[in-house]
Symmetry: C2
Subunit: 196 residues, 2 copies
Amino acid sequence: MNERLKQQMNFLIEIDKLKSIFRQSHLIDGTRNENDTEHSWHIAVMAMILAEYSNEPIDVLRVIKMLLIHDVVEIDAGDTYAYDVKGYEDKYEREIKAADRLFGLLPEDMHLEMRGLWDEFETCESAEARYANALDRVQPILLNYLSGGKAWMAHGIRRSQVMARNEFSKDGSEVIWAYILEIINDAVDKGYIVKG
Amino acid sequence: MNERLKQQMNFLIEIDKLKSIFRQSHLIDGTRNENDTEHSWHIAVMAMILAEYSNEPIDVLRVIKMLLIHDVVEIDAGDTYAYDVKGYEDKYEREIKAADRLFGLLPEDMHLEMRGLWDEFETCESAEARYANALDRVQPILLNYLSGGKAWMAHGIRRSQVMARNEFSKDGSEVIWAYILEIINDAVDKGYIVKG
């Protein structure tokens, strides 16, 4: 078999492990936690359905590629909960190491392309990355709200924490952020999120 | 809230249910069955990594959109196992009804776009659909093989059945099909698939 295809298939086989990396969010029906591949699929579909609400013109293919691979590093680095301050201290360092190993399985040109997309997503320095990051933040809020606020309540999350972490989503989409802000406020009213 | 965004969000909320539609394939580590969203994510990543092997030039964005939504109908119609002859009798009828309801949640222009992509995938009448269908067939073969042939052995699947169902994948990609054919033959040698 040709070496290039073998490297590509090895990467595609390795990332099957992302199906076993579970997040704090629950499925909307509340039956279980969601994993990284389910989350990635969901936000990729969101990217195509909600593209018209990006603040800036975007290349939808670049956004979707970014979203499909943005969590792959968690195969090695694990999922760091949004409000885990300690976990965030070395998150980036752990994820850089993971990116080197995982994208490094690919042929060099693709290694560079995927690593470029991942870096772009992380640094949020393009219209595509701003829109992609907004979706990445908005989807768990939607799931937490519709599954009865379990993940927030389990950690006693406050409105100010939710805002500090997510408000920058409006840089990606003012329209989607306005929709989510209503949800956040209703979640406070319902007691899912602590006031203040 | 604007009616259009509300319809789009209702669709995005409804499709969360696809995370609970399980398939016959197992994760590569053999721990459990895979669900439709994990499968859809996996083949969408394959579409971008393996695009160079499509027999014909393709629009990768169209392929990925098709793959992300191709199984959404199974929310209502359920997963029909590849070798379930009885299930296949009314599969298309059940899925058409599901497509009407689910894509019908979207604003009319998007309903038509998504339904068009789904029809195109089902009828396999474009270069994009041929490549997309090849990936949809190839991924479960890869998973079944690497998880020790569980799904094939549970149903006593024969090589001729695997070939009859999957050989058309070569219309999408000769290169990927050659890779998978080696796997099928090795699966026969290993006793995962019945000879003949």
